[in-house]
């Protein structure tokens, strides 16, 4: 009786083991904490073959420039990087020249000059303290890596940007704070940034808050992982090579081992 039970146990335990591994794997990225679920959108850049939508990225850059960049920097990105979202050298030069950076002239004085394509994106505040002081103590995070720096980053950002709703009656919203249904703790220092027709898109796309949130997310996803398209493209070739190598080495192994196995 006990023996048959043990036998049953040992034959099924490996299956149980595998399913447990899968369960624990699927959970561990959300390690701990109350979980707010965000609407899961179908991003063009998700999935193994996903690529960025150039038009959406360019609209996203416009949203960043006209709305976000008032408070949020992108210090890891250089203006020259915009080439990979479809701008030419002249456009990038002009885009960079809208900003000023400090430099030291031949007389040793600190002077301003227009930014060049080789410069990093100019941050709106000279330092973190100035950023905090201008925003009631809340620090507007740099957006260069924001999609990679949040779990489920793209869906999170889109949800956050469109998550401003009226606070429930029992929720007290202090001065300088705003209610957002997707923000952890619901009280956020950032006022609602996106309103209907907040920007005027050059390509005629209707600038709804949802559309703007999607576009700026597409732009920021690229800013977080500018190598993504190259990476996936190279990945496909590498995988094809490895499948071939696996097949070849498998059949070579079978052939070499055949005399031993026959004995």
């Amino acid at each position: 009786m006990i023996k048959s039970l043990l036998l049953f146990f040992s034959s099924h335990i490996s299956k149980l083991f595998i399913s447990l591994v899968i369960i624990s794997l699927s959970n561990f990225s959300f390690a701990a904490g109350e979980k707010i679920s965000y609407p899961q959108l179908n991003w063009s850049f998700s999935g193994i073959l996903g690529t960025f939508d150039r038009a959406s990225q360019q609209r996203g850059l416009q949203v960043y420039k006209e709305v976000c960049s008032g408070c949020h920097g992108m210090r890891l990105l250089a203006y020259r990087n915009l080439k990979s979202i479809g701008y030419n050298d002249d456009e990038i030069k002009a885009f960079a020249a809208d900003n000023n950076v400090n430099t030291i002239n031949d007389d040793g004085e600190v002077v301003e000059r227009p930014a060049r394509p080789s410069d990093k994106f100019v941050s709106p505040y000279p330092n973190d303290k100035a950023a905090r002081a201008a925003n009631g103590g809340a620090y507007p995070p740099d957006l260069s890596l924001i999609i990679k720096a949040r779990p489920d980053g793209a869906n999170y950002l889109h949800a956050l940007l469109t998550g401003y709703v009226d606070a429930p009656k029992d929720q007290k919203v202090p001065d300088g704070m705003y209610y957002n249904k997707y923000y952890s703790g619901n009280l956020i220092g950032m006022p609602q940034p996106l309103y209907e027709d907040g920007v005027e898109y050059a390509d005629g796309t209707k600038a709804t808050p949802d559309q703007m949130a999607k576009d700026v997310t597409a732009f920021l996803a690229w800013a977080s992982e500018p190598e993504m398209e190259d990476r996936k493209r190279l990945g496909v070739s590498v995988m094809l090579f490895l499948f071939l190598l696996t097949a070849l080495s498998y059949f070579a192994m079978k052939q070499i081992w055949a005399p031993i196995k026959e004995k």
Binding site: L6, F9, S10, S11, I13, S14, L16, F17, L20, V21, S24, N27, F28, S29, A31, A32, G33, I48, L76, N81, P141, S144, L145, K148, A149, R150, P151, G153, S224, P226, E227, R231, K232, L234, G235, V236, V238, M239, L242, F243, L245, T246, S249, Y250, A252, M253, I256, W257, I260, K263
Partner: protein, 416 residues
């Protein structure tokens, strides 16, 4: 003999004075290997491959990395964005650490299942545990280098463990840090140690191989090789099998590197370290989670630290804890079941290490920790006294040749 072995006169001349070619011929070509090894024996060579990969990518990364609290984070991002294929090198290194641990953990559990630690391979096993310990130290310090939030807070939490040592604990922590908090001097020494420890690992790996080649590989039925009929030369039989295993391994590895490079990482590590902001949940890398769960399962700080290190310490003395002379689990019906329970227990501990230390998770952590030590300290020594092992086959080649039907334990196994 050496006269006829090599045809090339230069090779012959060198080999006569410096017999490296004879050595390689003996250890990599003719080296007799049991012919019944299954795919679990691939993981040793895979671990070696992973180590070399980590060293090569690590050296390239170090050429572009700046070990300073003000520049470390940005220098890693510069590698990701501006260094040619820097993202590839860094993602290989980052995921390589995880895959190295996956491979080594499978390698260790292979040893546990087939009793590879038993006489005469005790030192081989102990050297292996030493490699694991060195890997953990290296991986921990490497994770600090990108200077993200988890780097900083992980380093703070783990180094603070030493403060649990009575009397001198606080002084030791200050000494480890090189200051009064995890700061620039900590980052610098971690970089230095992270660079040098892998070469120490290489040294221990060489000893591991010397010990391995003394008696040769264990095998799935765990009985000693009786003669040449039980073995095949390492090349071409196991070189081709290792190549096939490597191709499969690389397929999984490449899939992670190219398509899910951040799956095993933590998003918080893309936020630059900030000593003023503590993350909501400080979680170590996944490969430390079982040990982290043991640490938190014990209500006392010093006790937790002792249990955590004890979890590794029991591995060192395992060859003497296990009193059974039968190596392979195939002939140990009860141990076999407990082996799977131990594996489940370790996976459960890993899961619990990622969960907050509250409510049901704490209780489960304590049960799982208790089982872990029960398994090593009580089950291993006592089980042989109650377990009736199955009869061992006479030799490795016998079951392959079809052997006797009634006497062979193999026949029973095949039917299942």
């Amino acid at each position: 003999m050496s006269k006829s072995k090599f045809k090339n006169p230069v090779v012959k001349w060198i080999d006569h004075r410096l017999p490296v070619f004879s050595f390689m011929d003996h250890e990599l070509n003719h080296y007799p290997t049991p012919k019944n090894l299954n795919y679990f024996w691939n993981f040793g060579s895979l671990a070696g491959f992973a180590l070399v990969t980590m060293i090569v990518t690590g050296i390239v990364l170090s050429m572009n990395y700046t070990a300073h609290v003000d520049y470390a984070f940005d220098s890693v991002e510069r590698i990701m964005r501006d260094v040619n294929h820097g993202w590839l090198i860094r993602y290989i290194h980052m995921n390589g650490a995880s895959f190295f641990f996956i491979v080594v953990y499978i390698h260790i559990f292979r040893g546990l299942y087939y009793g590879s630690y038993k006489a005469p391979r005790e030192l081989l096993w102990i050297l292996g545990v030493l490699i694991l310990l060195l890997m953990m130290a290296t991986a921990f310090m490497g994770y600090v280098l990108p200077w993200g939030q988890m780097s900083f807070w992980g380093a703070t939490v783990i180094t603070n463990l030493f403060s649990a040592i009575p009397l001198v604990g606080e002084s030791i922590v200050t000494w480890l840090w090189g200051g009064f908090s995890v700061d620039n001097s900590t980052l610098n020494r971690f970089f230095s140690l992270h660079f040098v420890l892998p070469f120490v690992i290489v040294g221990v790996v060489i000893l591991h191989l010397v010990a391995l080649h003394r008696f040769g590989s264990n095998n799935p039925i765990g009985i000693d090789v009786r003669g040449t009929q039980d073995t095949v030369p390492f090349s071409p039989y196991y070189t081709i099998k290792d190549l096939f295993g490597l191709s499969v391994f690389l397929s999984f590895f490449a899939a992670a590197v190219f398509f899910f490079p951040n799956f095993m990482g933590h998003p918080d590590n893309y936020i630059e370290a900030n000593p003023m902001v503590t993350p909501a949940h400080i979680v170590p890398e996944w490969y430390f989670l079982p040990f982290y769960a043991i640490l938190r399962a014990v209500p006392d700080k010093l006790g937790g630290v002792l249990f955590m290190f004890g979890a590794i310490a029991v591995l060192f003395i395992l060859p003497w804890l296990d009193r059974s002379s039968v190596r392979s689990s195939q002939f140990r019906p009860i141990y076999k079941i407990f082996f799977w329970i131990l594996l489940l227990d370790c996976v459960l501990l890993g899961y619990l290490g990622a969960m907050p230390a509250e409510g049901i998770y704490v209780i489960l952590s304590r049960i799982a920790t208790a089982y872990y030590f029960f398994h090593f300290l009580i089950l291993f020594p006592l089980l042989p006294y109650i377990e009736k092992t199955k009869p061992l086959p006479i030799s490795i080649s016998e079951p392959i040749l079809g052997g006797g039907s009634a006497a062979s334990a193999f026949a029973v196994r095949e039917k299942r």
